[in-house]
Symmetry: C2
Subunit: 213 residues, 2 copies
Amino acid sequence: MDKSKKISTAVIRRLPKYYRYLGELSKIGISRTSSKELSDMTGFTASQIRQDLNNFGGFGQQGFGYDVSNLRNEIGKILGLDRKYKIIIVGAGNIGQAIANYTGFYEEGYDVVALFDKNPKLIGLSIRDKTIQDIDDLDDFLELNEVNIAVLCTPKSVSQKIADKLIKGGIKAIWNFAPTDIKLPKDIVLENVHLNESLFALTYYYKNKIIND
Amino acid sequence: MDKSKKISTAVIRRLPKYYRYLGELSKIGISRTSSKELSDMTGFTASQIRQDLNNFGGFGQQGFGYDVSNLRNEIGKILGLDRKYKIIIVGAGNIGQAIANYTGFYEEGYDVVALFDKNPKLIGLSIRDKTIQDIDDLDDFLELNEVNIAVLCTPKSVSQKIADKLIKGGIKAIWNFAPTDIKLPKDIVLENVHLNESLFALTYYYKNKIIND
DNA sequence: TAGATTGTTAATCGATTAACAATC
DNA sequence: TAGATTGTTAATCGATTAACAATC
């Protein structure tokens, strides 16, 4: 690790797309591809795709291209998809439940090991074999169980407080769905999904389309 | 419109953050701010903030700074938040319901006017006073009602087909939650929320944190 | 007026694209 | 071998940062 050259986040965010398309090629029985073909599928230039991949090593063969399943495996390894992750969901409302129910994550090795909420109407309900627990039991749970990733689906008014709790419990990665920024020690990995910002951007482009023509 | 200089998407995606922080300043009674203060809050450089804003006009005053509520209003206008939008949700499972239930959107002028699903167990249920309708009634609904934005929360296997239907019905903007890319005529505005790609990126950074120290 | 902070131009930095030699 | 396509270096493009004159 620490190959001196830092990989830009733009590169990292393209890798999942390569991974997904390679999976689709694999599924329809195609075993060999090229940066040109991947370019047609993803919309990124062939040159950029080769640049991206060569940040991590030469996975292709001159004159031939790339072996689909090998390349997919390698990208999976880069992203860390070659192992399992235990995740907990904090805030088991609609979004929390949606994530717990999404089977795509299980297939890639993410296991929801627990859900927490403070709403008594939700506590005790089962989502995919896991019972929603009282948020007051979160500390104890973290003490007794190894957890890799916490998904934060709480209302924004409490998300900072709960994030602090998660950190104290040893969590190192937070996937945040609360429409607010949370402050964390900088050794903690945070990925925000700000749906309102996404909708506002959509609105901007929609509005300008409408005005322009 | 069409002020010759094209605004980059990076700029557009920062605007909602300014908008949000200005709202927070407003809420705690602060009426005046500066690019320096906004920099401290958002983490973007003061220089970048001034550059961003000056793409759209001079909203500040030399030696003084920016009027909080005026600037917020102006950004709102740029984003198109000074009007109402009618949105429909196609696929009323967990994610669809989560969006229908999220009050933050109502506050900004987004109205969910209908939800659709093909699951008989969901059809007829009410979410915030709207009854989930049979997806087969979508065409008729679009013919009779004006809709600005469609939120696509269907399984990926059917999302392209349903997207085509939406376009045929006159929809010009799609907010896509299906974990797949959909192909649309280029006058249609599309915003993808690819949760799997977001989680994979988080995983990459998590993994490398762990390895590095 | 003096101090502050914008608006804007210029400099830097980084990311994307183009080109091509290496080589399968 | 000839053809194809990579890996990689160089050129270009665009976005961010720095600097400072304008001005409130």
